[in-house]
Symmetry: C2
Subunit: 308 residues, 2 copies
Amino acid sequence: MIQKLMEKIRRTGAPIVVGLDPMLGYIPEHITKRAFEEKGETLDGAAEAVWQYNKEIVDAVWDLIPAVKPQIAMYEQFGLPGLAAFKKTVDYCKEKGLVVIGDVKRGDIGSTSQAYACGHLGKVSVGSKTYYPFDEDFITVNPYFGIDGVKPFLDVCREEDRGIFLLVKTSNPSSGEFQDQLVNGRPLYELVGEKVAEWADTCMDGQYSNVGAVVGATYPEMGKVLRKIMPKCFILVPGYGAQGGKAEDLVHYFNEDGMGAIVNSSRGIIAAYKQEKYRKFGPENFAKASRAAVEDMIADINGALGRR
Amino acid sequence: MIQKLMEKIRRTGAPIVVGLDPMLGYIPEHITKRAFEEKGETLDGAAEAVWQYNKEIVDAVWDLIPAVKPQIAMYEQFGLPGLAAFKKTVDYCKEKGLVVIGDVKRGDIGSTSQAYACGHLGKVSVGSKTYYPFDEDFITVNPYFGIDGVKPFLDVCREEDRGIFLLVKTSNPSSGEFQDQLVNGRPLYELVGEKVAEWADTCMDGQYSNVGAVVGATYPEMGKVLRKIMPKCFILVPGYGAQGGKAEDLVHYFNEDGMGAIVNSSRGIIAAYKQEKYRKFGPENFAKASRAAVEDMIADINGALGRR
């Protein structure tokens, strides 16, 4: 699966991923209004607004980008209708040829992780039939349980040619509270990174692994170290843009081959029309604003990569 | 909310929780057969079997126990129909007066944790209306992101009188891979436990906090230490029975007042009819086997508590 992602990155020239994390507050009024007229001010109405918003953005940017990353929490907050909008979004993005990274951050003891792995990346058996319930290409995974919570995901990655990104160093301000604690003089995230590199070796797909890591754009010095610890892992980099990460800081997340990292922006793209820079588009043309923001992000990152 | 749980523990005399973690392999054939006849060998059929199985177990044990803990992964693996069965199970258990602990182990950066907190414990606004989408009483939370990933859950606990159990030391064999790493000479789980105790102080409900901890039954020595570190926290204890935890080992998870811990059993109860001890009930009477297993578990734990 990482080969598919790499091929799409090469074709688009865009080592980026658009985070489809729709908050109701981002969605232009004309869309929510229409959705509420149709389905009421209900969870179904909210889910419909989310779906229409996503669809218009995807239609506007799909040819520029290799991948999308829907954050399932933003859908799950609207209950079952929200999760139906998540599934619809996953399916639609796959139809458009996009690689879908489900940002689900699941992880549990072995038997439970296996259920998550089957539900999101793999298949379940029902009597004599099998189904791929959520059918994402990649998902994010929380490694706090250690190898027996991770192994079921690795198994499914191998069996189904799917991928995962394990949390190593997250982008939020307090990520250091536990992740930076020194273990034998080295931060815990380095230890996690070493384990991820080991696990990655067991899931190779060409010169890279189907097992990658999440390292926040907001900690570039740590990203530099982690790049070396996990040479065959793609790094999924949240925190660019709205959270404060800058393109110059991110060049060290990439390998010499220009591969090995994919930078996410969510709010900065999907709610671009709310920024001063893209305000001229207006709420009616929010998706065009998103397209312009994608083009600017690609130029920003490729510019920084060119200058290194 | 912890007061409600305590009152139910007092009334039933049962400091236990039944884990509703239905694997298709546990469900007696007469139930799956009927469900597949009605809905086909589909995700809907699987979800229907899960729901019928749960309902029969809940009907058989609800008067003996204070709480249930559905593990969402076991439902999520069947996609949207599975999640609908989860929601149906939550609602039904609440109707029966049971406290519902959603074992969801969510956790992310602040804005994302907020969405999970609203979706599972709190409410979301849609236009002028508000909804409680999943509406559990407690959920389990992964603390790997540090305080800003936890705070949105604490806020909802205070606003809505709900509760959480934060993962401190999980029950699985490899939990030590990261959780036991020594930080300044002390294991990481102790550091996490200290933070949980701090956070718990901000969410008090009587003499206990609405913020508790998950500590596996499989690590009794650690449970003893963590009991002291988090005196006002309830400890949710997975790993009893099928995973190997014994009642004698668990007495130190309780405080002197006989409160402060609630021991979970999943497979050991819901698939009791498959054990030699309860085989006489037969698959047709699987729910009666579950009731007998609940009675035995209560006697086992109370016996050990009496002997300490």
